[in-house]
C-alpha cells in the first residue's frame, strides 16, 4: 500500500479490490438544509476483513460520512454502494441489517428501559422470535463482557459500560460492517483498552469489518489496517498507518498531530541520527528499534566506527 492522494478534479473514485469491497462511497456529497457542507466529493471504501480508521479533526465530516453508511443520510450528490446495492437508487431499506452504527454518545443510544431490552431491540426488528432475540442479546452481551449488566437500567451505567452495551446492541444483529464514531473518547484508560481489544476481536473473531472515526491517532496506529485522512468533508489521503503517520506534512495538513510513538522516533532520529527509513508505529516496534540503533550522542561518537 502506498499513500494515495485524492485528486479533487477527478470525478470518479477508483475501486480498491471490487471482489472484496463491502462499501464504496463514490464521490458523494451531502449538504445540510441550512447550507453547511457535511461531506464533499467524498471517496471512500471498506474491504472485507479490514479495520479502517477515519482520522480528522472535529467537524471534518467523519460523523456525516458514518451516517451515510447505513442510510440515515442520503448523499445529495454522488452514490454509495453497500454490498453491491446503491443507496441512491432507493435501495436503502434494510441497510441497517448490514451496517451497524455506534454513535459517539452512548447515553443517547440506549433508549429501552433495561439493558436486555435495549440489546434485544435490533434482533426483534430483524424479525426474530422473542426467545431467539433474548438468546442473541445475551450472547452479544457475553461477547462484549457485559453479561452481568443484562437486568440493569442504562441510566445508571458508567460511560464505559454504556459503550459496551451499545456495541452489544449492534453485535446482536450480526451485521457485516460496524461503524463507530469516536469509540474511546471520554473513557478512562482501562475502559479504552477494553473497547480497543473488542474492536480487534470484531474483525478476527467475528469477521466483521470495522470503520472507526477518531482523532486518537495512537489508537488508530495500533488497530487500523488503513488510515483515511479526512478534511473539509473529503478523504484527502490514505494509506497504511506506517506510511501516513510518518508523513508529517500530511498529518499537519489534516489538522492532527503524529502519534506519540512516531514523534518519539522522529525526534530521536533528528537528535541522535537514527535510521529514518525505519518506521515503528507501535511501542514494541519502537523499543526494539531503539535497542538496535544506538544514537550518536556526543559521548557516544568516539565509539562509532
Amino acid at each position: 500500500m502506498t499513500i494515495m492522494r485524492h485528486d479533487p478534479d477527478h470525478l470518479h473514485c477508483e475501486h480498491g479490490d471490487p471482489s472484496r469491497e463491502l462499501i464504496h462511497v463514490d464521490c458523494a456529497s451531502h449538504t445540510y438544509p441550512d447550507g453547511s457542507v457535511g461531506i464533499h466529493e467524498m471517496c471512500f471504501h471498506v474491504l472485507q476483513d479490514e479495520i479502517v480508521a477515519l482520522c480528522g479533526p472535529n467537524g471534518s465530516g467523519k460523523s456525516t460520512l458514518i451516517e451515510h453508511l447505513n442510510g440515515l443520510l442520503l448523499p445529495t450528490q454522488g452514490d454509495i454502494v453497500i454490498n453491491g446495492r446503491s443507496v441512491t437508487r432507493g435501495e436503502r431499506e434494510g441497510l441497517w441489517k448490514e451496517v451497524g452504527v455506534i454513535f459517539q454518545r452512548s447515553e443517547e443510544q440506549l433508549f429501552a428501559p433495561t439493558v436486555l431490552d435495549d440489546v434485544m431491540f435490533g434482533p426483534l426488528n430483524l424479525g426474530m422470535a422473542p426467545d431467539d432475540a433474548r438468546a442473541a442479546a445475551l450472547e452479544a452481551l457475553e461477547a462484549v463482557g457485559a453479561a452481568g449488566l443484562a437486568g440493569k437500567l442504562p441510566n445508571y451505567l458508567s460511560g464505559g459500560q454504556k459503550r459496551l452495551v451499545s456495541i452489544a446492541g449492534i453485535l446482536a444483529m450480526k451485521p457485516r460492517i460496524i461503524a463507530m464514531d469516536e469509540p474511546t473518547s471520554d473513557l478512562d484508560p482501562v475502559h479504552s483498552a477494553r473497547i480497543e481489544s473488542l474492536i480487534a476481536d470484531l474483525k478476527t473473531r467475528y469477521g466483521i469489518s470495522v470503520v472507526i472515526a477518531t482523532h486518537d491517532l495512537e489508537l488508530a496506529a495500533r488497530i487500523a489496517d488503513r488510515i483515511c485522512l479526512v478534511k473539509d468533508g473529503a478523504v484527502f489521503a490514505e494509506g497504511s498507518p506506517r506510511e501516513v503517520f510518518y508523513d508529517s506534512a500530511l498529518i499537519g495538513e489534516a489538522g492532527l498531530k503524529q502519534p506519540d510513538t512516531v514523534m518519539t522516533w522522529l525526534e530521536y532520529c533528528r537528535s541522535h541520527g537514527g535510521p529514518r527509513e525505519e518506521r515503528p508505529v507501535t511501542r514494541a516496534e519502537l523499543v526494539q528499534l531503539l535497542g538496535a540503533h544506538p544514537g550518536r550522542e556526543p559521548e557516544q561518537k568516539d565509539r562509532e566506527p
Partner: protein, 273 residues
C-alpha cells in the same frame, strides 16, 4: 415512513436560526423593534378587517418581502401544514352550516350538509388571516439575529419569565439534537417499521421519557455551571438593538393610521367593509 421522524411540516428552529444569522438583506438590517411593532400592527389589522382585498394585499406584500429577503419559500410553504389544519378543523366544520347561497349539499343520514358561498368565504378569509400571521412571524424570526431577539426578550419580559425564555431558547437546540440522535439510534437498528401499536407506543414513550430525563439532568448541570459563576436569577442579553430608521418610523406610522382607521370605521360597518 418518512426518512426523518423529525417532522418536515413543523418549522425547524435550527434552520430558522441559521437563516437569520446568515441573512444580510435590507430586512435583516432593519431594526428588530420596527419588525416587532409591525407584527403587532399586522395582527391588529387582520383582527379588525375581513375585507378580502385588503387581506390579499397584505399577504402578497409579506410574500414579496420574504422572497426579496431570500428566505426558503418551499420550506415556508411546507410549514403551513399545521396552521392550515388548525384553521380547517375549526372553521371547516362551522362553515357547513353558514347561511347563504348553497353550493354543495351532502345528505348525511337525517341531515343535509350544505356548503354556501358565505361558508366558503369564511374559510378563505380565516385561512388568509392565519397565513398572514404565520408568514410575517416566520419572516420576523428569519430576518432577526438571535442576539437581537434575545436582547428583546431580556427587555420585554419580567423576571423570572425572561430567564426561562432565554435558557429554554438556548437549550432548545441541544434538546432537538438529543431527540434527533435518539431517533437515529432507533432507525439505525431497524426501528420505526410499524409492527404493533404496543411496541411502537412503548418505544416512543421510552424516547420521550428519556428526553425529559436527560433534560432534567442537563438542567441540574447547567444550574451548577451557573451557580459556579454566581447566578442570582439575572441572566441577561446585552447586545445593542438598533433603533428604527426613518423608513421604519414611516411604516410604523402608516400601520398605526391603518389600525386607527379600521377602529374608527368598524362600528359603522358591521361585518367588515
Amino acid at each position: 415512513m418518512s426518512p426523518s421522524m423529525i417532522s418536515e411540516h413543523i418549522p425547524d428552529l435550527d434552520l430558522i436560526t441559521s437563516c437569520a444569522e446568515r441573512q444580510d438583506s435590507v430586512f435583516s438590517r432593519a431594526s428588530p423593534w420596527t419588525k416587532l411593532i409591525l407584527l403587532i400592527l399586522v395582527v391588529l389589522v387582520i383582527t379588525l378587517t375581513a375585507n378580502l382585498l385588503v387581506l390579499s394585499a397584505i399577504y402578497i406584500g409579506i410574500l414579496v418581502s420574504c422572497f426579496a429577503a431570500g428566505l426558503p419559500m418551499r420550506k415556508i410553504i411546507a410549514w403551513y401544514a399545521m396552521p392550515v389544519i388548525f384553521v380547517l378543523s375549526l372553521v371547516g366544520i362551522l362553515a357547513w352550516t353558514e347561511p347563504g347561497i348553497a353550493l354543495i349539499s351532502i345528505p348525511l343520514g337525517g341531515f343535509v350538509l350544505t356548503l354556501t358561498d358565505q361558508g366558503v368565504l369564511l374559510v378563505v378569509t380565516l385561512l388568509l388571516k392565519a397565513l398572514i400571521s404565520v408568514t410575517f412571524s416566520l419572516f420576523f424570526l428569519m430576518t432577526t439575529k438571535y442576539a437581537h431577539f434575545s436582547a428583546m426578550v431580556s427587555r420585554i419580559f419580567p423576571s423570572p419569565l425572561d430567564q426561562v425564555f432565554l435558557l429554554a431558547y438556548r437549550f432548545l437546540f441541544l434538546t432537538l439534537a438529543m431527540a434527533a440522535s435518539l431517533l437515529k439510534a432507533v432507525r439505525s437498528r431497524g426501528g420505526g417499521l410499524i409492527r404493533s401499536i404496543r411496541v411502537q407506543g412503548r418505544l416512543f414513550a421510552g424516547i420521550f421519557g428519556l428526553v425529559f430525563i436527560r433534560s432534567f439532568e442537563r438542567a441540574e448541570r447547567v444550574e451548577k455551571a451557573m451557580a459556579a459563576r454566581g447566578y442570582n436569577g439575572s441572566l441577561s442579553a446585552h447586545t445593542k438593538i438598533p433603533a428604527p430608521g426613518i423608513a421604519g418610523y414611516f411604516l410604523i406610522c402608516a400601520g398605526c393610521s391603518a389600525v386607527l382607521l379600521l377602529l374608527w370605521i368598524s362600528p359603522h360597518a358591521a361585518g367588515g367593509w
